[in-house]
Symmetry: C2
Subunit: 96 residues, 2 copies
């Protein structure tokens, strides 16, 4: 193992980071679309059953090395960020 | 917009979630390799300069809809989870 290996691994991490960035933004766009449908139908944006479904699906597909507790924690932050973003959008709309 | 649209969008979210899951685990594996190299070289695992570099790269490539504060927050959780995982591995090794 040398400094070059370290550099190569870091480049790999940078590339994976950018892929994750792209996906969390794609995800947020779809959540915005879902939010619009729910708004039209007068549905609540936060849906604990749907969140449980998503976490179960992640659990069934988690092959590690991250443990489930960590995966749940990261995804709850991702879920929360999408809801916060929509609330911020609503607030801005109300202010216009 | 109908119930079917909502279902299709939810399926899209489920698919993106699984892609994110796969990538955060891939990332964690690479971080484990980096940790081993650092350990051999007696380097500290936590590297604030490297973290700053990663956050800057994300900032330069963030096209939204998530704002930078949210992206930073999610990634700091991802960075932390990888460090925690390694500390847990070290603790287990010491206990054997």
């Amino acid at each position: 193992m040398s400094q070059t290996d370290l550099e190569q691994l870091r480049e790999k991490v940078d590339a994976v980071n950018l892929q994750i960035l792209s996906l969390i933004n794609d995800r947020a766009s779809v959540i915005q679309e879902i939010g619009k449908i729910k708004e039209k139908q007068g549905m609540n944006r936060y849906d604990p059953l749907r969140e449980r479904h998503m976490l179960n699906l992640l659990k069934d597909n988690n092959n590690g090395p991250l443990d489930q507790k960590t995966v749940d924690h990261i995804f709850k932050e991702i879920f929360k960020s999408a809801l916060d973003m929509q609330e911020e959008d609503t607030r801005k709309t109300l202010l216009v």
